[in-house]
Structures are given as structure tokens and as C-alpha cells.
């Protein structure tokens, strides 16, 4: 089976964007909710996320706009194509009256499709928002 796929998870937190941003970008805080890491908030910074199961994700900061957007690659190299994953995780912070809406989108493409990612990005986002609505009604 081919490996094109994406997922969106959103949640509103009763905390200011500034605070969420710290939780997303400070290594000891990232470790508290995600994984051990050597993250640094710098465009192009390469780092690893190390899972409790022993798996290591290779990552690179692709987009960083303080308190608004953070995107990094989320790659898991595996000789078995069924487990091999090349994806991009994008966090978007949207201020709300009660705090912050955090939107996580993870989009994965096969290696040969990576170049297509940039152009397809906007379209997929819209697609998945609509797909969610369709599935709720299906």
C-alpha cells in the first residue's frame, strides 16, 4: 500500500500562546509531554526525538514563527517500508478568548513525493478539514 497520509488534531487549552510556545520549544518541557529531545528553536536545526520504546525520530526545524507556527520533519528510517515514515508535523497556535487553540497537522509522503509537498500543502490542509466534516456526517 502506498504511504500518502495526513492527520489533524486540534485542542483548545486554557493557557496563553506564550506558555504553549514554551512547552513546544523548550527541551525539558517537550520531554514532559512528547519525547526526549535535543530540540533548539532555530530554523534548519536538526534534532532527534527519542521514544520510550527505543525508536528514534530524525527531525529538522522547517518553519518557526514564535507563538504562532512551528513545523519540523518527523522521519523514522526503517528498512521495512511499512514502518519507514517521512512526514512533517506542523503546530499552529491560534489565540482564543479562553486561551489557545493548538492545531497539529502531520502529513506524510513517500520519499519520491517530498518535492511535491510544498505545492500540495495548502490543498491537503483544506481537504482534511473538509474530510473530517464529511466523516462526521457519514
Amino acid at each position: 500500500m502506498s504511504e500518502t497520509r495526513a492527520v489533524v488534531v486540534e485542542r483548545e487549552f486554557a493557557h496563553a500562546p506564550e506558555k504553549l510556545w514554551r512547552a513546544l520549544t523548550q527541551p525539558h518541557l517537550i520531554e514532559a509531554w512528547l519525547m526526549k529531545n535535543d530540540f533548539a528553536p532555530a530554523l534548519g536545526h536538526r534534532f532527534q526525538l527519542r521514544g520510550e520504546w527505543g525508536g528514534v525520530l530524525d527531525c529538522e526545524v522547517l518553519e518557526i514563527e514564535p507563538e504562532r507556527t512551528l513545523a519540523y520533519s518527523w522521519n523514522f528510517a526503517h528498512e521495512d517500508p511499512a514502518y519507514d515514515l517521512q512526514s512533517v508535523v506542523t503546530f499552529t497556535l491560534i489565540p482564543t478568548p479562553a486561551g489557545t487553540l493548538l492545531r497539529m497537522e502531520q502529513a506524510g509522503f513517500r520519499p519520491e513525493q517530498k518535492q511535491a509537498f510544498g505545492g500540495a500543502h495548502a490543498g491537503w490542509k483544506q481537504f482534511f478539514e473538509q474530510l473530517d466534516r464529511v466523516l462526521e456526517q457519514a
Binding site: A6, K19, A23, V134
Partner: protein, 109 residues
């Protein structure tokens, strides 16, 4: 048993906004004729028929001829190949967000 449609084909099929709108309309409104769909599609009936043909090949709709009319209905089960990975990863991120919420509360102290 029908061969499952590859996610690639499903993505390509639903990437077109007009086609996606037709599919969504069928999901929401149940079975409809080509004429009824054309009234809302904003494109010509031949264009709507062409889109329905693509949706049918992807397994997303089923057709049922009745007299001169062909009626179409959505087959949302065809989206299953997209959902498995989506569900799995969504579960992972929901759990991480639970931990993030706990962390944010601790950060207040």
C-alpha cells in the same frame, strides 16, 4: 471482494474541489440524480458526469440507473484506507495533548 483503493488514488480523486463538493453533497444529502447534483455544482452536467465517473472509479460513489436518470450515492466506506493511519496517529496525538495539558497546569505552579 473488491480490491481496496490505494490512498494515492483517493487523495487524487478528492483533491479536486468541485469533485470533493459533489462527494460531500452526496454524503450529506443521500442518493441524488445527476440533474439534482448539477443544480448545485456550478458546472455543466457533462462536467458533473465526468466527476462522478472519477469518483465511481475510486469506489467513492455507486450509480443506480432509473429510467433516463442515473442516481448516485456516496460510499464513505471507501475512505477506510485513509482512516486507519489517521485514527492511529490521531490517537497518539490526543494522548500527547493530554500530557501537554497536564504539563501546562504544572507550569502554573
Amino acid at each position: 471482494m473488491a480490491k481496496p483503493h490505494a490512498p494515492d488514488a483517493l487523495f487524487r480523486t478528492l483533491a479536486d474541489p468541485t469533485r470533493r463538493a459533489i462527494f460531500e453533497r452526496l454524503c450529506r444529502g443521500g442518493e441524488q440524480s445527476v440533474a439534482a447534483l448539477t443544480a448545485h455544482a456550478g458546472v455543466s452536467q457533462p462536467a458533473v458526469s465526468k466527476h462522478l465517473g472519477v469518483l465511481k472509479r475510486a469506489g467513492l460513489v455507486r450509480d443506480r440507473p432509473e429510467g433516463r436518470q442515473i442516481h448516485y450515492s456516496a460510499q464513505p466506506g471507501a475512505l477506510a484506507p485513509l482512516l486507519d493511519w489517521t485514527r492511529q496517529m490521531a490517537g497518539f496525538w490526543e494522548a500527547r495533548f493530554d500530557d501537554l495539558d497536564d504539563l501546562l497546569k504544572r507550569m502554573d505552579q
